[in-house]
Amino acid sequence: MKDPKNIYIKFGVLFIILFIAIVGDLMVGSTYISFDEIVRTLIHGQDDSVNSFIIWELRLTKTIAAILVGIGLPVSGLLLQSLFRNPLAGPFVLGISSGASLGVAIYVMAGGASILASSWLLAGGLSLFSILGSLLVLMAVLAVSLRVNDTLSLLVVGLMFGSITAALVSVMQYFSSADLLQRFIVWTFGSLGGFTWMEVSILTGLVLISLILSVFIVKPMNAMLINEDYARSLGVSVKNIRMFVILISSVLAGSITAFAGPIVFIGVAIPHLARNFFNTSDHKILLLAVVLMGSILMLVCDIISQMPGYATVLPINSVTAIFGAPVVIWIILQNKRINARY
């Protein structure tokens, strides 16, 4: 039996680190605002000063955005990895994030060219198209999953959809004008800075709903982890769980991608770090672990991306890749240890 005290201590440590990370992220910015002022503004609310505006409208939104991304993508990755019993599964594997990219591409390049002429993107329209794109791939993968009972085939289907959407995006890039193309490319860098309270509230709602749903499937996911036959024999409705996981993952990946752009590696890497840190596969523990560790990592990445001096902000994707890619490689090396039993 696992030592519960050990687990509580680990969670305690994570909470403390998370708190520090939040404070750190609020303090880091391209202009200097003192710690006292930050605390004062947070307590007393926004007043007329510029600093207060910056803290509430720029920094706080960015911090919350980082946390939402740090929650959403790793939860999605955790569920997908357990569903597919594959350590490399994630929102990108299923093509869901690619679907979101396709939605954005259509909106920016095709829509932008004919409908909006020389205007810039409207945030609402962009996110709508992104989620629609995500859902489109979700529907397709769902439809296939109901007919195909084999998880491996489903993974391949997801990859194929990812390829199709990526190809379509390339074709569109080829035909679009230079500035629209530029806009789309900038979007692919990923960014947490474009969040206003409107985007934050929408995303918070979606992430919260998904998180609550995830809590309800913790138990069946533990059974699914053994294998699908055993899960069925223990009373799990495998078809329903599959649908839930895909739905939750799509909403998370789709909405996050819409607002923050495609952010890579977090979905795949964090669940592994969580599994290793807590030495368990129990979703009861992992769900919270992934929420905390994902938030911490995104905040740290955000802090790092703002550090290089004056005003240059590194694209968030570059920072997450530097962290995430080594983890993915490490996963592949570790995978040799796991031999499925006959």
Partner: protein, 386 residues
């Protein structure tokens, strides 16, 4: 080294060494079947540049040498009359061009503005895309097929380009060392690298009209046009020179997380200086844009009086891009101006075609906006946001 690598190295060497080649390999636009209608002699006008310091024109008996100086090397154009033959005793040059050129391909918007001013729009036979061109004559000719579209710079239809067989190919120069596509080179098409955008002085930018003029043999006309522009500009500058209380300006808009602000040496800031307008970053050195975060801009420029060159034309679109723009004083006072008054439906903005060559008009617009009590006329490119 593989075959492809060798080829690339060779081409690079060619470029770096200034495209020097033996006389037999001189590629000119002279050896053509096409017979010119008039046999013009080379004009005698000596072109001089007042504000541009890296272009030099030397007149000789039967040819002119135009030298564009670069960081590591120079580009040399040898211009000769189209009714004389290439002389093997001529000095080495990168391009030998028979002037006046009759068939121009251009990807540069401002060159169209200059060509229009010089009255030689009819020489333009190929452009990038209709949606980047404001000039109605050129647009009509594209529709009728007289002018060919070649696509964006990155995705240029080289086959079409080569088939139109231009006398002169004008493209922007984004590098520091005169990079020219090797397909164009191989075909022997004289390429004019147009780097007017690098000029830090607004008048210097407009002076590039003289360079176009050299190739179409209209140097005298260009000279007088420029003198008039200069006169108007300086007179406008005088009208506001006495002003003590300078209003502050905010320019542009952020793109995703970065707000690119012109730095102190850029021509935009020069315009502001000449218009007696204060600008937070005017003491920053350099010509390149400053990549600023929204936070920094808000902190420093939230109280700017007027916001100009905003890329959105309505307040709705502006606020939809980012609701936090409402914090700016300029927003609260509705003192925001865009620069798309002369705009085609598909996005072509005359600001880039004619405006950059008419600093007097640009200055006029800025003064209009910032000193309405001193000077009030119709604006050319600026318009208040709706």
């Amino acid at each position: 080294m593989s075959l492809i690598n060798r080829k690339i190295v060779f081409q690079l060497l060619l470029i770096i060494l200034g495209l020097n080649s033996c006389t037999e390999n001189i590629k000119t636009n002279y050896n053509k079947e096409e017979v010119y209608q008039t046999k013009e002699r080379l004009s005698l006008f000596q072109t001089k540049f007042k504000y541009i310091d890296n272009i030099e024109v030397q007149n000789f008996d039967d040819y002119k040498l135009v030298k564009i100086k670069g960081k590591t090397s120079d580009l040399k154009y040898l211009l000769f009359s189209s009714n004389s033959k290439v002389d093997t005793l001529w000095p080495k040059a990168d391009f030998y061009v028979a002037v006046p050129v009759r068939n121009i391909t251009t990807l540069v918007a401002s060159s169209i503005g200059y060509a229009d001013a010089l009255g030689c729009l009819d020489r333009i036979k190929a452009v990038s895309k209709k949606q980047y061109i404001y000039n109605s004559v050129v647009r009509d000719r594209i529709d009728s097929g007289e002018i060919v579209e070649l696509g964006e710079m990155q995705q240029l239809d080289y086959e079409k380009l080569l088939s139109t067989n231009p006398d002169l190919f004008i493209q922007s120069d984004y590098s520091d060392n005169f990079e020219i596509d090797n397909r164009v080179q191989k075909a022997g098409i004289p390429t004019l690298l147009f780097s007017d955008w690098k000029e830090t002085n607004p008048l210097g930018r407009a002076e590039w009209i003289k360079l176009i003029a050299l190739f179409v043999q209209k140097e005298e006309m260009a000279d007088s046009i420029f003198m008039e522009i200069e006169r108007r500009y300086l007179s406008l500058k005088d009208t506001v020179a006495m002003i003590d209380e300078q209003k502050t300006a905010l320019l542009g808009a952020p793109y995703k997380d970065v707000w690119y602000m012109p730095a102190g040496d850029s021509y935009k800031v020069q315009l502001l200086n000449d218009a007696a307008v204060d600008y937070k970053w005017r003491t920053e050195k350099g010509n390149a844009s400053l990549p600023l975060s929204l936070e920094v801009v808000i902190k420093n420029q939230v109280d700017a009086d007027v916001w100009i060159e905003c890329p959105y034309r309505t307040f709705d679109k502006l606020i939809a891009q980012d609701s936090r723009f409402s914090i700016f004083k300029a927003f609260k006072n509705k003192e925001i101006y865009h620069y798309k008054r002369q705009l085609r439906d598909d996005g072509a903005n005359n600001y880039w075609e004619r405006g950059v060559g008419r600093p007097d008009e640009l200055l006029s617009d800025i003064i209009n906006v910032f000193h309405p009590n001193k000077y009030k006329t119709e604006m050319f490119y600026y318009e208040k946001l709706k």
